[in-house]
């Protein structure tokens, strides 16, 4: 025991030492030089290779230096641990300016990582406000705005991607497949002709229809209210919070999945597979998958698999749900709360929303090195460069800025105004009345953690159709209730009421 006392002694000393050593880490970094262009830091996630970072930054700076006197330095992080990395850097008080937002503006803002940008937008962000319109306020917290959303066609809908060649061969009209019933009938025919082929498999996250309802017939549209508790929804512009898993439409979707599973349409391992459905689709062993896609308008159009030149078959993208713009947060960009140059950051962002050369450079690389202008107003890759190994595979083109500002690739469309037209679809879209509501999970964090575990336990098995709905769904709901889901719903309802009243 004497030895143990000794041990305690040493422990105390070490702890004191550790605290002393940790203290200097919270010093501040020097403010930027006031002479010459202002250098801003842009924190960005990526999962592609970006070896050409230096020349792309140089090309961007050549554009922005003269126009607004700002230069950018982009820092990339792995997508998988982006949010943790940013948190760590913030905790270390490392200076940064623009911060990409991976779809959880609320959490970042509440943890104090972002600054409110309303005043900056008024002063330096007129173009951003023009382009975004009402969609700008996608995540307001206490009436303040913390992020600039990525602007593109925001009408994301559950979309069935399926083989056009097989549909044609079987004589099935894709327009008949916009309801689950229609899809089921098509599966029946295709399954008979291609018994070896799997009809439907999850794409990526393991859930066949993900977090988006596909019950188009019974529910006009579903609006998602929270990222943390994504089962909180409101339907048909009624500001009543519903637990989606308890809803009639969820039950109907499950019944359909169960019937499909028993008919052998769904991959047997669907409940556990971590394979990405779209990959089996590309290699030809899967007939269709459901994906959260941009709506391509009312008509069912064949789609182009951009950048996947080895795919020989054409596809249909068939929208299964109504095209309403809902919020539940989105990709975007904010300004770090410890930024020393918030004004320069906002100027840079504002220019990005209108300057085609700048946007295209950020998205696709250096002009005449990575891409070149064609006579018809479209752009194409330079010789020897192709999607997938261009040297600039950053993810900017689908999450930062304004896609309408960028030039159009010849592989995407023949219309130089394609991106602008896609963006304009937002004007015709219905915007959910709960758009902009940001749920604050803090008061019910404990319940959300418990419910998350219940969801993990049941949702995958149920939504893949691999278990009996009538026995398992009631268990699921009972366990959710025991875990406190009703508290979560009630909290969300009171927050939503406050939000609606303040609007």
């Amino acid at each position: 025991m004497k030895n143990f006392n000794h041990f305690k002694h040493i422990f105390a000393i070490v702890l004191m030492l550790a605290m002393l050593l940790a203290l200097p880490a919270c010093g501040t970094s020097p403010a930027s030089d006031s002479n010459g262009p202002v250098k801003i830091k842009f924190e960005m996630f990526s999962f592609g290779e970006t070896p050409d970072e230096a020349i792309v930054e140089e090309a961007l700076n050549n554009i922005t230096r003269d126009k607004i006197g700002v230069e950018v330095d982009i820092e990339f992080y792995n997508l998988a641990n982006y949010e943790e990395q940013i948190g760590l850097k913030m905790a270390g008080n490392e200076a940064m300016d623009l911060v990409a937002i991976l779809g959880d503006t609320g959490a970042m803002a509440r943890q104090g990582e972002l600054m409110p940008i309303d005043d900056l937008l008024e002063k330096f962000g007129k173009d951003i406000m023009d382009v975004c319109g009402d969609l700008l306020y996608y995540a307001t917290i206490d009436g303040k705005n913390y992020g600039v959303p990525f602007m593109a066609n925001k009408k994301y809908v559950a979309t069935l991607i399926c083989r056009k060649d097989i549909l044609d061969e079987c004589g099935i009209d894709p327009k008949s497949m916009t309801t689950l019933d229609g899809v089921g009938k098509a599966y029946e025919i295709v399954h008979q002709k291609y018994p070896e082929m799997t009809m439907l498999a999850p794409d990526g996250d393991g859930l066949i229809f993900g977090y988006y309802g596909i019950d188009n017939e019974h529910v006009k549209h579903v609006s998602y209210l929270s990222g943390d508790a994504y089962y909180l929804v409101s339907v048909n512009d009624d500001p009543t919070v519903i637990n989606f898993y308890e809803s009639e439409s969820y039950k109907r979707e499950l019944d359909t999945m169960r019937a499909w599973y028993e008919a052998g349409y769904i991959l047997k391992d669907a409940a556990t597979t971590s394979e990405v459905g779209s990959l089996s689709y590309y290699d030809g062993s899967l007939f269709s998958y459901i994906s959260n896609q941009n709506c391509y308008g009312d008509v069912v159009e064949p789609i182009v698999h951009a950048g996947l030149s080895n795919i020989t078959f054409p596809s249909y993208a068939i929208p299964l749900s109504a095209d309403v713009v809902t919020s539940a947060d989105t990709l975007g960009v904010g300004i770090s709360s410890n930024s020393k140059n918030p004004e320069a950051a906002m100027k840079w962002l504002n220019l990005l929303f209108t300057d085609s050369d700048m946007a295209t450079t950020l998205y696709y690389g250096v002009k005449d090195h990575h891409w070149q202008m064609r006579d018809d107003g479209l752009i194409e890759y330079c010789d020897g460069i192709e999607a997938g190994n261009s040297g600039w595979e950053a993810a900017f083109n689908w999450c930062i800025g304004n896609s309408g500002a960028s030039y159009v690739f010849n592989s995407v469309s023949n219309d130089p105004d394609h991106n602008k037209k896609q963006l304009a679809l937002n004007n015709s879209a219905e915007i959910s009345i709960t758009y902009g509501f940001e749920f604050d999970p803090d008061p019910v964090e404990t319940q959300i953690a418990a419910v998350s575990n219940v969801v993990e336990k049941y949702a995958y098995a149920l939504e893949s159709g691999s278990v009996d709905v009538d026995t398992v769904l009631p268990q699921f709901i009972a366990e959710m209730k025991a875990a406190g889901v009703d508290d979560v719903v009630a909290e969300a309802q009171s927050q939503l009421d406050t939000y609606m009243a303040s609007k």
């Binding site: 949010e83 391992d269 319940q447 953690a449 418990a450 949702a459």
Partner: protein
């Protein structure tokens, strides 16, 4: 008096040897002790704009999610019971394998066996999970498509049936860990004086008697140390084993969910470092208490083998 002098001179002579410890101690200091300063994060609601020191204190609120769930009992039971079962299996089979290895006459075969046993430990758990998946998959799995039909048995949906999982997890755990454990025991078995066995043989002791009367008593200190070290991790679970091997399949969570997988599933989406720190702190405190208790018991039973 002479005894004390003696002690002092030993200390002097060993100064150089103590210096050798410095790099290791520094490493432990930086890697294991320095971060302990951060335990206070578990009691804070982190706001990066204020910084971790000025963030608001919230008492034990961050710990609540660990206990305020109907699953608290299940995850505690799974974590502890699996660890106890693993510990017993690892010790029994580890010693058995070590004895077999020690008795191998063919040196080449012995060395090959050692390498073959330790190999699984070097494979990433992600790859192991796919090896398991190759057996258990419903669509293309070996068990359902080849082995079970061969014996005329019905296919089983492995990732939805709770029954087989305690066995599957134990088998995978043993397969992964038996090599390292066996080699630790082997190293203490080869250190046993051969003369003991020779005289035992002369006295007509059977092989079994030699094992129970000579081998086991001689390696008892190793066994006790290994067991004591393991008690500290009784409330930790091998995350890869319990999350990846069952493919995080929900229908079998009742028998595969442990403390670590629960925390992961709960916090994956919220990115709350206060709650994550609370989960880690609770685990460490429980581990610390368990080591103290185990050591106390050991000291009562056999003082020489206690850690402190």
């Amino acid at each position: 008096m002479p005894e004390k002098l003696n002690k002092r001179s030993i200390k002097k002579n060993h100064l150089v040897l103590y210096l050798l410890m410095v790099p290791g101690l520094l490493y432990i200091l930086v890697n294991n002790y320095l971060p302990m300063a951060g335990v206070f994060i578990a009691f804070k609601k982190i706001n990066y704009a204020l910084g971790i020191f000025k963030s608001q204190w919230v008492g034990f609120r961050n710990f609540k999610f660990l206990f305020a769930t109907p699953d608290a009992w299940i995850i505690t039971r799974n974590t502890v019971v699996y660890n106890v079962v693993f510990l017993i299996m690892e010790t029994v089979f580890g010693i058995a394998v070590a004895i077999m290895l020690a008795d191998m006459r063919n040196q080449r075969l012995a060395r090959f066996s050692q390498s073959a046993l330790i190999l699984p430990d070097l494979i990433s758990m992600v790859i192991c999970s796919y090896i398991a998946f190759a057996f258990l998959s419903q669509e293309n799995g070996m068990l359902n498509n080849t082995i079970l039909p061969f014996f005329g048995l019905q296919p089983v949906s492995w990732y939805a049936e709770k029954g087989p999982w305690p066995v599957i997890l134990s088998v995978v755990y043993l397969w992964l860990n038996i090599g390292t454990t066996a080699i630790i025991y082997l190293s203490s078995i080869v250190g046993i004086n051969k003369a003991l066995y020779e005289s035992a043989e002369l006295d007509g002791a059977t092989r079994w008697q030699q094992i129970t009367r000579i081998t086991i008593p001689c390696i008892k200190p190793t066994i006790v140390t290994m067991l004591l070290l393991s008690t500290g991790t009784l409330f930790y679970s091998n995350f890869g084993l319990f999350y990846l091997i069952p493919q995080n399949s929900g229908m079998i969570h009742d028998v595969t969910a442990t403390y670590d997988t629960y925390v992961y599933n709960a916090l994956m989406k919220s990115n709350n470092i206060g709650m994550a720190a609370a989960a880690g702190l609770f685990q460490s405190v429980v581990g610390f208490i368990l080591v103290l208790i185990a050591n106390k018991i050991t000291a009562k039973v056999d003082e020489d083998n206690a850690l402190f």
